[in-house]
């Protein structure tokens, strides 16, 4: 195999930058909205702290069902289809559907429901007894969500986050096929279309390294956070 590092390194560096850019933007929004949706899914469910917002159980159950339904739709569409469907929307808010910033839009939309479900699972694992103890001390709902639910679920949420980052990496490669750029784009363009195995294998190695690092860091952080 004849490898020309001089041309390959700058190409890969640029692609990596694009990958980190789209994943970075998507991740920032995913964390905020995923946590929000996850918290809402748990707290508006029966027995949750917001089961009756404004004193109405019906309202709580409506919010819960509607959110659950939307999340399921987001989860049921294959990313490539979601991306195509979202092209007009992406164009509307970014002005184009080409490039890493534009790709961050469908990536965010795909990752929020995924992360939200994982957050939901993490929050449900928090012992009801802790919520009861906080209530007995006169805690407000907001305090219960912040200082009990989210605080206690931190280790699981960090692991959920790493799973989401890895999914985003996966989606970002697909986004590469419709002009997002990034590492996936290189693998397809050079490796698949030009049969250049040097590019293909190098991108594979890079992807494996990224995934390993993300997982290792997340596991270490989760271990430090969990004091069990």
């Amino acid at each position: 195999m004849n490898v020309n590092w001089v041309t390959m390194v700058p190409i890969l560096t640029k692609a990596l930058g694009e990958t980190f850019q789209m994943i970075g933007i998507a991740l920032a929004f995913t964390i905020v909205f995923g946590l929000l949706v996850g918290v809402l899914l748990v707290s508006t469910d029966e027995g949750g702290v917001y089961e009756s917002p404004f004193g109405s159980r019906r309202l709580g159950s409506i919010i819960h069902s509607v959110l659950g339904f939307i999340v399921n739709i987001g989860r049921s569409l294959p990313f490539i289809i979601l991306m195509v469907v979202l092209i007009p929307f992406t164009r509307l808010i970014i002005g184009t559907f080409i490039g890493p910033t534009a790709a961050a839009v469908p990536l965010t939309i795909a990752a929020i429901p995924f992360f939200a479900r994982l957050v939901e699972i993490a929050l449900r694992e928090v012992d009801q007894g802790l919520i009861e103890a906080a209530r007995s001390m006169g805690a407000r709902r907001g305090t219960i969500i912040w200082k009990v639910l989210l605080a206690e679920a931190r280790p699981s949420i960090v692991l959920a986050l790493s799973t989401s980052v890895i999914s985003l990496l996966n989606y970002s490669a697909i986004a590469g096929t419709i002009g997002a750029g990034g590492i996936g784009d290189i693998a397809i363009r050079y490796g698949y279309q030009r049969y250049d195995n040097a590019y293909l294998f190098t991108t594979i190695v890079i992807l494996i390294v990224i995934v390993q690092v993300v997982q290792l860091v997340a596991s270490a952080v989760a271990r430090t956070l969990s004091r069990r």
Partner: protein
């Protein structure tokens, strides 16, 4: 300190399936200032429901609950939260936050009430000292034994200087030795701080060790309640019988069987010896137990006296005259 009147709680059927569960069917109960009040009863009797109604974790279907002169059932959400700051609660499974240190757990309630950091630190050090855990302030709950965890739970409940402490089976997941040390701690705190304690338990041992008053709950109703010593002297008291199980041994046909209960100085007197001497009868002891109940030496004894009730009238009269509670279990005229 706590007055409960005509408290009812029913759980509607879930998702339209099943039937309504009437967990509490009209409870009237008063817990006086500074008491340690034990509620006993079998599994499913409604003990937890009753306790959770006291700080309105569970909203009663009807009835009123007054704690420290305030009717909690009329309060709005914000007022209720404020009222809860004055009511500490201790749990069977401790319910400590795993992500916080011991000190941070104890400070949690103070954070809720907006106490500044320095004052929180000082107060948590104080209460941890009170429960004997001053040296474990920076440990995490996972590094503690069950008994230590419960001490943290108690410290957390006391941090806000509550007037009332509620305890739901606080010792039920602890081994017997640790149970005793936690019960001693609760008793000390009750004496030192004057905090009123209402606890629920299914272990008579707990009542025997620390309760000044007790109530028995069966199927959502209070069937007996009162001062423990008074209950011991109450005819056919179920709590008294549960505190002193004397077995099932019965006398021979034609003889008279009595149970006597004695408390305080009477427990030190040689009752049986005196009776057989004075009346010249052979008294057969079928069962006996002497225990310390809420710091009093009390005992219960089942005696078989030869012959019919008529022939034993005088010795029984004599026992009653000396201040003993006597219950005739079996007799022929």
């Amino acid at each position: 300190m706590i007055t409960i009147t005509d408290l009812q709680k029913s759980y509607p059927p879930r998702n339209g399936r099943g039937t309504t569960v009437e967990a509490l069917k009209g409870i009237d109960l008063t817990v006086a200032d500074g008491e340690i009040f034990g509620v006993v009863g079998q599994s499913g009797a409604g003990k937890s429901t009753l306790l959770r109604c006291v700080n309105l974790l569970e909203r009663p279907t009807s009835g009123t609950i007054t704690v420290a002169g305030q009717d909690l059932t009329t309060l709005g959400e914000a007022e209720l939260r404020a009222a809860r700051h004055g009511i500490g609660m201790v749990f069977q499974h401790f319910n400590l936050l795993a992500s916080r240190t011991v000190a941070e757990n104890v400070e949690f309630g103070l954070e809720i009430t907006g106490v500044p950091k320095a004052a929180r630190r000082a107060r948590s050090a104080e209460v941890l000292d009170l429960v004997g855990l001053a040296d474990r302030a920076s440990a995490y709950p996972s590094q503690l034994s069950g008994g230590q965890k419960q001490r943290v739970g108690i410290a957390r409940a006391l941090a806000g200087n509550p007037k009332v402490l509620l305890s739901d089976e606080a010792t039920s997941s602890l081994d017997p030795e640790t149970t005793l040390s936690i019960l001693e701690l609760l008793k000390d705190l009750n004496h030192q701080l004057g905090v009123t304690i209402m606890l629920i338990t299914h272990e008579m041992e707990v009542v025997k060790r620390i309760c000044t008053s007790a109530a028995l709950i069966e199927g959502g109703r209070i069937v007996e309640s009162g001062n423990v010593i008074d209950l011991l002297n109450t005819p056919k008291s179920k709590i008294a019988h549960a505190l002193f199980p004397l077995g099932e041994s019965r006398g021979a046909p034609g003889n008279t069987v009595v149970e006597i209960m004695f408390a305080g100085h009477l427990a030190d007197e040689p009752i049986v010896g005196r009776m057989s001497r004075e009346y010249g009868i052979d008294v057969n002891i079928l069962g006996a137990a002497v225990e310390i109940v809420s710091d009093h030496r009390v005992g219960r004894m089942r005696l078989e006296l030869p012959g019919s009730l008529d022939s034993n009238e005088r010795p029984i009269e004599q026992l009653r005259a000396s201040g003993l509670y006597v219950e005739v279990l079996e007799a022929t005229r």
